[in-house]
């Protein structure tokens, strides 16, 4: 059975490794799955004009983001033979080295999950109205921009 019901994507703060590990554990009962693939976005300590990023504070146009996440899910299920997929994105402050995006796809076979994961992550970066304030160690900031 395909897991298509709408889910809450946003989580306050960083996504913990316990949460990620537990998500993997929960899929052990879904025995039609033969392959998982996982993408983890981690906040990087970029150095810009000699200042180092210490955290990113995420905000989003939540209503539109949820609609876009739903469209991406539908498109991914349409395009790829997936058993299930999960997307979690942080809101609020995420420190460098912590996880801000967790995408988890599962399928009976491996080739599908490589392609599906890339499709989903690229769509999230391009289409979902999420904004990131890069906070430097001296408390100044600039706005992150995906490219």
């Amino acid at each position: 059975m395909k897991d298509k019901k709408p889910k809450s994507v946003f989580k306050e703060g960083a996504i913990s490794s316990e949460f990620i590990g537990n998500s993997i554990y929960k899929h052990q009962t879904k025995t039609s799955i033969g392959a998982h693939n996982i993408f983890l976005g981690q906040v990087r300590a970029d150095v810009i004009d000699n200042k180092t990023v210490s955290a990113i504070e995420y905000t989003a146009y939540e209503e539109m983001s949820n609609a876009k996440f739903h469209e991406i899910r539908e498109a991914a299920f349409e395009k790829f033979e997936l058993t299930c997929m999960h997307i979690y994105h942080s809101l609020g402050k995420v420190n460098v080295g912590e996880i801000c995006l967790f995408v988890f796809v599962s399928s009976p076979r491996r080739k599908v999950v490589f392609e599906a994961l890339e499709f989903i992550v690229e769509a999230i970066k391009a289409d979902v109205p999420i904004f990131g304030k890069e906070i430097f160690e001296d408390s100044t900031h600039q706005w992150k921009q995906n490219n």
Partner: protein
């Protein structure tokens, strides 16, 4: 017509608010933008897209009311 305009990220830093309700008599997104540019002059220096009722729209699009959002570059992931 009554329109709710929402501002995000660096756009909200310029407008100094995240949301406002405006009475507006123009007919297109472009006319609304001209009105916002005269109210918030620094907006012209920023890169953003416009969403009407949660869909990205072009400036020539007819204004149908409800919710307009000014969206700076996306940074998810």
């Amino acid at each position: 017509m009554r329109i709710t305009v929402r501002y995000f990220g660096q756009i909200a830093e310029i407008t100094n608010k995240e949301k406002e309700v405006l009475e507006f008599s123009g007919h297109t997104i472009s006319e609304l933008m001209e009105s916002l540019y005269s109210k918030y002059t620094l907006l012209k220096t920023k890169d953003f897209q416009v969403a009407q009722n949660q869909e990205l729209v072009a400036l020539k699009t007819e204004l149908t009311g409800q919710e307009i959002a000014l969206l700076p570059p996306f940074a998810g992931g």
